[in-house]
């Protein structure tokens, strides 16, 4: 199954903007891209979802280029409470031609005071 890749880890200072990218070369044509946040001992928590161009909600923005082979989660003015692992979730066309919902490899974001 084609992998959906993310940087393993990122560090940022409080108050900065953080951008996390997910690469998904074999994304299914009609599927949306979703991003989740996960704290230790908890299930993934929905952050934002989009299909193309730019989506913004109260906590984040999501940028998706025209070819949809990647997506970038943008967290404005991060705080210590944003320290977590961030995952993208996309529908991927497997080597057998069927579609599978696949999580990215995850990015561990650490916010430094």
């Amino acid at each position: 199954l084609a992998k959906t890749t993310q940087p393993i880890s990122m560090d940022s200072y409080e108050g900065q903007e953080v951008n996390i990218t997910c690469s998904h070369n074999n994304i299914a044509t009609n599927d949306y891209i979703t991003w989740y946040q996960q704290f230790p001992s908890q299930g993934p928590r929905f952050i934002i979802q989009g299909y193309k161009t730019k989506v913004t909600n109260e906590v984040a923005s999501l940028f998706i280029p025209a070819d949809r082979k990647s997506s970038t989660l943008s967290l404005p003015r991060v705080s210590l409470s944003d320290t977590a692992v961030y995952y993208c979730l996309v529908g991927i066309i497997s080597n057998f031609g069927n579609e599978k919902l696949t999580f990215g490899t995850g990015t561990r974001l650490t916010i430094i005071p």
Partner: protein, 117 residues
């Protein structure tokens, strides 16, 4: 709105024993997913139900794992016999329809943590 409920939250068993996890999805959600998350990795889909029918169970180790959703609401995931490598978090998720899509978010429970010793 109540979220996805799972139990038990934590379970420790010896290898070759059996264990069962229960999930109650968000009310009205027809699609239910079971994921396995090994420490340090992203969740991996084990099985997906649409109402009480199986949509995808291609990554479910069927020699030891089974899952059912008899009435199209609650679901149970069973492991018998357990192996050491089954130690993981088992996450249940649900959505209105097979997704994701506009107005169709997949919501996750807090997970059931399994340790096999």
């Amino acid at each position: 709105e109540a979220g996805v409920a799972q139990s038990p939250r934590y379970k420790i068993i010896e290898k070759r024993q059996s264990v069962a996890f229960w999930c109650n999805p968000i009310s009205g959600h027809a699609t239910l997913y079971w994921y396995q998350q090994i420490l340090g990795q992203g969740p991996k889909l084990l099985i997906q139900f649409q109402n009480n029918g199986v949509v995808d169970d291609s990554q479910l180790p069927k020699d030891r794992f089974s899952a059912e959703r008899l009435k199209g609401v609650d679901s149970t995931l069973k492991i018998q016999p357990a192996k050491l490598e089954d130690s993981a978090v088992y996450l249940c998720a649900s959505s209105l329809e097979p997704g994701p899509g506009p107005g169709n978010t997949i919501y996750f429970g807090e997970g059931s943590w399994l340790t096999v010793v």
